[in-house]
């Protein structure tokens, strides 16, 4: 196990790299695949301990994804690494047909999720990956909130018999967890409670929503935050409980508001017949621009101020 102190204050992709190397040391079935992004998705530690089990496919994501299926069929536990934008778009058919359709235990670990590679611009922003992956039957979809949770999530998917997609972040997320707890796939973690509003979020948005909740206290608004780290299978009970315990719900995600967590939560509320003020916050169906990450967070109202401001406007209307 990795000392939890080492996981605090590092990005989920850094925590992934440390954890994968730790797991690979003890399990010879683990292989890692990359498409010329070994350094970016933090395979350096695994390369140090087991270079023969790290396969670089060059800039060829489709071949890599198909080969991961072949490795899984031959008794290996493959961790596929690339950027989220390529995992979800360039190699989507291979992920769906070769991996998901055949129910293979491939772990697709996709870094630079959301607009994490901020200056990279729209070509490198992954804002549809959750929508795509949650549409693949049998696929588990996870976005950890920070380094500590990422490490736990990577350990948790080791036991999954089927495929999983884990979105990782390039920027370091705000710290949400300072103690290590095993990750329960499909179980949300309610970090805080609030009677006026519940933010339901994943990834870095969990920490920013917590900070937003602090800001809202000044307005007399009590907001809670649910860390919906597993987007699929979604924790339906947690959504319904949030609807019961607070007067409004707002989802927050670095993703198009179409098809992601917001959509998933809306589906639950609508099918349960729950009438509650509800808002999906994220990227409002447009292509994003290029700028340093903090500036994009501010521009798209995805930082604490932006989330708090959006929540105020939303609550005012109801």
């Amino acid at each position: 196990m990795i000392d939890t102190e080492k996981l605090i204050g590092i990005s989920s992709r850094d925590a992934f790299g440390l954890t994968l190397a730790d797991l690979a040391q003890n399990d010879p079935r683990i292989v890692a695949l990359t498409a010329d992004l070994a350094a970016s998705v933090r395979l350096a530690d695994m390369i140090k301990i087991a270079p023969e089990r790290v396969f670089n496919f060059g800039i060829a994501e489709q071949d890599m994804m198909g080969a991961a299926a072949g490795l899984a069929l031959s008794g290996k536990i493959p961790f596929v690494t690339t950027f989220a934008v390529f995992a979800s778009l360039r190699a989507a058919e291979q992920a769906r047909t070769d991996i998901a359709y055949n129910s293979l235990p491939v772990r697709i670990c996709a870094s630079h999720g959301g607009f994490g590679l901020a200056v990279g611009g729209a070509t490198h922003h992954a804002l549809e990956d959750i929508a795509i992956y949650r549409n693949m039957p049998g696929m588990t979809v996870i976005v950890p909130a920070d380094g500590v949770e990422a490490s736990a999530a990577v350990r948790a998917v080791m036991d999954l018999p089927g495929p999983s997609y884990i979105r990782l972040s390039r920027p370091t997320e705000p710290t949400v967890y300072t103690t290590y707890e095993p990750f329960a796939i499909g179980k949300a973690r309610r970090v805080t409670t609030g009677k006026d509003l519940t933010f339901i979020a994943y990834g870095g948005s969990v920490g920013y929503s917590l900070n937003a909740a602090e800001l809202l206290k000044a307005d007399g608004i009590h907001a809670g935050v649910v860390d919906m780290a597993t987007i699929k299978p979604l924790d339906i009970d947690a959504v319904l409980e949030a609807a019961k315990n607070s007067s409004a719900i707002m989802t927050v995600e670095e993703h198009n508001i179409i098809g992601g967590l917001g959509t998933a939560v809306a589906e639950v509320l609508a099918e349960a017949g729950v009438a509650i003020p509800f808002k999906r916050h994220g990227i409002y169906d447009h292509f994003t621009t290029a700028a340093p990450y903090p500036e994009l967070l501010a521009l798209y109202k995805m930082d604490a101020n932006g989330i708090a401001g959006t929540a105020r406007e939303f609550l005012k209307k109801h």
Binding site: V31, G70, L73
Partner: protein
Amino acid sequence: MAEDDKRIRDLRLMANTIRVDIVTTARDCAEGVHAGGSLSLAEVLSVLFFSELKVNPKDPKDPNRDRLVLSKGHANIGLSSAMAHRGFFSVDELKRFDQLGAPLSMHVDMHRMPGVEISSGSLGHGLPVAVGMALAGKLDKAPWRVFAIVSDGEIMEGSCWEAMMAAAHYKLNNLTMVMDRNRFCLDGPTETIMSLEPFEDKLRAFGWRVISVDGHDVVALLKAFADKAPGDDRPRVIVCNTVKGKGVSFLENTAGAHFTQLKPDKAAIALEELAAARAAIK
């Protein structure tokens, strides 16, 4: 020698049997079948399943089995016939082709077909999967080998060339690509739709050991599969020069043979031709 002659004769007869199954299913299955690219594979499938592949229908998951990926998954009627006669499932299942609840249908499905390594149908997928299997085999220093049947039209998919680079880079000499060079894709001749020539030069340039044979010549196929080239660390491709629709005169070398339903009168002509061909097998 006599034993060899019998073996070769049996392989030719099996190829003929596979063709009869394809034509019969094309007649009886209301939806039609991918006849053209299955007929072109009859000798290849016969030689693979009845001579080359170390597989055991009684233990389809034997860890030491050879792995076969039918990347051109639409040729499932050909594969189904060969696997049925090899004993992986009943030959009667061919009669239920495409029906609800049947194990066999247009494309290969690992969930429904015992002995199948991976589902396929969408083109350009099989070779990358085979590369992954071959990597695992190398990692484990396993005795088993990987074979991928790829169509010439399918090679237009970029993922095939990605996989070819990877196979050469990782020196996967435990991998054989069996190329069905029948020179047709759905819309017409490959050289009209998207030219592949100089095809074998391209494969060679990508680092593969190229063996070129008449894909309908059982003896040539046996010789090609037996060509192991010890010490050569390149992956191997056996380019099987074939005729799309082979064995049925009115289907041969036609784009229309790709996917077809045969009316009873047409099927009768085809079956007569195949019976004559069978009688001529010495």
